[in-house]
């Protein structure tokens, strides 16, 4: 137990990488170019959050800052979203099995984002149901992965699951 906690503490802060810094810079440029000048401060905050080792918070903050831009044009939008995607990708590349993790992130994140964008922009579904559907769908797949791992490790057997 103590070892597990130690590992958790050790990996709580993600180290900045070149790819992540590039993503943050792109997002900051996108924010400044697409919106008012004060969004430059948001770009600085974005960089600060990333350098502090909390890339997930940086992504959330970047997404919120993007909402502040009134009807962003395609270039700033692509810069911000692309930059934040690179930040998430950089975290995946820090993982031990970086190629697999990076590939999965590179496939799944755009897939889900595209699906959400289509639902909201093209099919005009309300944001809340789309978000709930996304979370529920992801949770179901995640739970199935969890059960698969338990069976794979012989912690539970396939028969006992349904008893």
């Amino acid at each position: 137990m103590s070892t597990a906690l130690g590992t958790e503490t050790r990996t709580l802060r993600s180290l900045p990488t070149a790819l992540g810094l590039l993503g943050i810079a792109a997002a900051a440029v996108g924010l400044v170019s697409g919106g008012p000048l004060w969004l430059g401060l948001a770009g600085v905050a974005l960089g600060g959050l990333y350098l502090l080792g909390t890339p997930v918070l940086a992504v959330v903050f970047g997404q919120i800052a993007l909402v502040a831009v009134d009807a962003p044009s395609l270039l700033p939008l692509a810069l911000v979203e692309g930059g934040l995607f690179l930040v998430l990708l950089s975290v995946a590349f820090e993982a031990p099995d970086s190629r697999v993790a990076g590939s999965l992130v590179a496939v799944i994140v755009p897939l889900l984002c595209g699906l959400a964008w289509l639902s909201l922009g093209r099919w005009n579904v309300d944001p809340f149901p789309v978000g709930v559907a996304l979370v529920v769908g992801t949770a179901v797949v995640g739970y199935l992965c969890h059960r698969y791992l338990l069976v794979e490790l012989d912690i539970v057997t396939t028969d006992s699951d349904f008893q």
Binding site: T3, A4, T7, E8, T11, L12, S14, V56, L57, V59, V60, G62, Q63, I64, L66, V67, E81, L84, F85, L88, V91, A92, E94, A95, P96, D97, V100, A101, L104, V105, V107, I108, V109, P110, L112, C113, L115, A116, W117, L120, G121, P127, F128, V130, G131, V132, L134, V135, T138, V141, G142, C145, H146, Y148, L149, L150, E152, L153, D154, I155
Partner: protein
Amino acid sequence: MRVTRRFWLTLVAIGSLILGGGLLDAPLLVVGAAGLAGWLLAMQLAFVRGVSHLRDDLAVNQSLDRSRVRTDVETQYTLETSIGTDGVHLPASVETTGPLAARTEAGHPPTIDLDTSMKSSSVTVPLTWETVGEYTIPGATVTVSDGTGLYIQSFTTAPGPDITVESPSVGPLHVGQSGKQLLTGVGEHDARGRTGGLSAEEIRKYVPGDALKYVDWKATARLDEAHVRNYEAESNRSVVLVLDHRHSMGDGPPGETKLDHLKAVAAAFRQRAETIRDPLGYLTIGDAGVTESMAPVARTEAYQSCQHRINDLTTEAETPATATVSAAQSGATTSPVNPMSETQSPMETTLLAYREAAGSKRFLPDQPLYNGFQTASREIRGADLLVICTDDSNPSELRNTVGLARRDATEVVVFMTPSVAFDEDLVTELDTAYERYQAFDRFRRELNEFGSVTAYEVGSPDQISAILADSPANRERGEHV
């Protein structure tokens, strides 16, 4: 799979983005939430794959430097891990929890932390075993975490080696008659009994202690040397160990007392009984009377219980299991105290009075072995083989006990420790030691002459040899030389 606090924080962030997107009607927030949810899922899939591969590639080996050990003796326990794949892997920690019977010097179980690039590691720690028994080192617990600190998974490897922990024993043991070592193994007994048949097994040379009735006269005449025919029991026969652990049994140096020697003999009988599944029981006698008893049964728990009782026996005073009125105090023939006497019905009182008047049980003063045996259950007294382990400090009591025992038991074997062999001033009083040993041997032979009774001496071979070396025959031989 367990998730960490970081995972929950990310999930809260996703929930906040969805909630914000719904309330502010901002689709971009929901898109961001979708991206983060996808990222969590991708990391989980990568972790599942990594753990699955690590489990296939990870080899955990646990070993002990020996498979049989005595209590309070150190063994070296080694935990080795190796990963048979190139490249990096998920960080893992391998932890083992030894059996409760073992303790480590450090106080915490050995652990190996495998970083992402480490291929192998090992750790060796001393384990001290405290409790007798058979143990298996439990499988090691491998805890794997992903590099981003979102997920943790633990799994257990195959169990480690087995180890048998035995009670500490005395050194070489002398079991014999008149100073001659008994050649047959202690605990082996012949097949006389009331039930079951016998089958001839083999003919072997006569050794002191063999009953004359088993001498094969034809083989003896043919081979010109005494031979006996061994028989093998075709049915189980009950064995009861009567163990005396009174104060006098504590004579001798620490770890080699009379009781320690007799415990080794009793343990041999227990082991033999378990091997051939003979029903086994015991009766332990302390200074105050019977301290514990168990009727003979052929169950694994009974053998273990008997072994634990043998191990735990000390010469310190124990609370008697059945309170008997001390004959020494009353100075007269008495009967066991009935704890229910205050609640007896008139009918019971009348019947008990008749029983006592008939003299069904007669207690003798200062003879707890005799009195205790008398109060034992019929299953104990009527065993096919009754093994009495005691010393020669009270010959008349032992004589009475053996006389009582042979009434019900089919065969009685007495193991006696000669007090002279456990005297601390044996060297200074070597002149009188041989005479005392002779008195002991006369008493042993007297018991041996009882029908269906065999008596043996038990002691340290060195002490017995030292006493016998001072015999007149040896002294004369020394003078001639």
